[in-house]
């Protein structure tokens, strides 16, 4: 089972390495969205510092969602998804492998690029580190929840826009605490522990429930 899990992760990473542009698009989308906000709101330092956590998280939500559309789409199109459903491996393990690979390619880069946001929005160093940590815990949750939506909208016309309608409301809790912790850290008075506990709780909950729901959704959609 573990072998199959590793196999799926490696497979998706190899595939992504052979089509690198897909990975880079997500990253650049994030950078562009983050860079556009100051042009719209004005570049006043106080304002930027205040909106930075929210902007970073909304950009992360959108970037992760855009990438999700492709999570199962190509496997669905060439029939490999059917084959995955028919392997003697538990489907949720394979789903977890795919989500992990997807997160490594689209979520992790966002975590690593976060200091750039800090730079653009005049965030103090502490807040930047907090933001990276929050993104590190939060973006996997986004990928996990989004996988359910991606599986449900598989092969539908206008699937991408539908996906956002289904999934964005479910992202709210992660965004509230993910952005909340960065704001709290920028002010520097409150205890951050509680935020991270809640975010980790979300991650554990998503890790347990999402692969099962995604597997069920895939079985429904592949029919």
């Amino acid at each position: 089972m573990f072998k199959a899990f590793c196999c799926i992760v490696m497979r998706d990473l190899t595939l992504a390495m052979r089509r690198r542009t897909d990975v880079l698009t997500t990253l650049f989308f994030f950078i562009i969205v983050v860079s556009l906000f100051p042009l719209g709101t004005g570049t006043e330092k106080v304002i930027l510092q205040k909106i930075a956590p929210g902007v970073a998280w909304v950009a992360a939500l959108l970037a992760s969602m855009l990438a999700l559309e492709r999570l199962f789409a190509s496997d669905f199109a060439d029939g490999t998804l059917e084959q995955l459903l028919l392997t003697p491996q538990p489907l949720f393990v394979l789903v977890l492998g795919k989500v992990l690979a997807h997160w490594l390619l689209t979520g992790l880069p966002l975590v690593l690029i976060a200091p750039l946001v800090g730079l653009q929005y005049y965030l103090p160093n502490d807040a930047v580190i907090t933001m990276m940590l929050a993104l590190l815990i939060g973006t996997p949750v986004l990928s996990l929840i989004g996988a359910i939506g991606a599986a449900l909208t598989l092969g539908l016309r206008g699937g991408g826009i539908l996906l956002s309608l289904l999934i964005l409301p479910l992202y709210i809790p992660v965004m509230i605490y993910g952005a909340g912790v960065v704001s709290a850290s920028a002010i520097g008075t409150t205890d951050l522990q509680a935020y991270f506990s809640i975010l980790s709780g979300f991650l554990i909950l998503a890790l347990v429930l999402s692969p099962i729901a995604t597997a069920a959704a895939l079985r429904i959609s592949v029919e």
């Binding site: 072998k3 199959a4 196999c7 799926i8 497979r11 190899t14 595939l15 052979r18 089509r19 199109a77 060439d78 029939g79 490999t80 059917e82 084959q83 995955l84 459903l85 028919l86 392997t87 003697p88 491996q89 538990p90 394979l94 592949v222 029919e223």
Partner: protein, 211 residues
Amino acid sequence: MLEITNLACSRGDRQLFTGLNFSLKPGSLLYVEGRNGTGKSTLLRAICGLFLADSGEISWHGKSTRSLAEEYTQEVLYLGHHNGIKEDLTGLENLHISTILDGDDVTQDQLWGALKKMGLKGFEDLPTKVLSQGQKRRVALARLLLNSARLWILDEPFTALDVAAVDLLQSVISNHINNGGIVILTTHQGVALTSGQIQRLELGRKKSRHV
């Protein structure tokens, strides 16, 4: 042993078939016949568990395939209209991944050997997107040589294959049947398979005829 009792399937509004009954013993071959749109592919997908039938029971050695779950998928190899291979990966990688996922322990030599037997010598290391339709099909079919599944469900396995490959596939299928395997297949080509116990199922008549 595969047993189908009272199976009914529909697509949208259309009832494809109802009250379908048959059973297949080890060492037998079932041809599923019928015009386009009579539900051949749906039947095959229902048997391997991709499609949820409206009613009826599919059982493997006396147990419902739904309750067997992974124990049953271990025994099934399905090849549909899609080849189920990644175009960005090489034939070798594709084959390797599918054997790992199928839970079969296969050495590198066996992988190379299987591709060679399928007439893909020299193409093993190329991304499958540069191969022809027939060659892609061969990559997909190479799985048959390395798989331990006893029930093969093949939807139009002969499409896009040239004469030599058709012959090869026929012998692979006969071999499987002689070794006690079960094969269910659909085809539009008149292919002569004579080994084992052959059954025919014709869909799309007033009453599905089972000979």
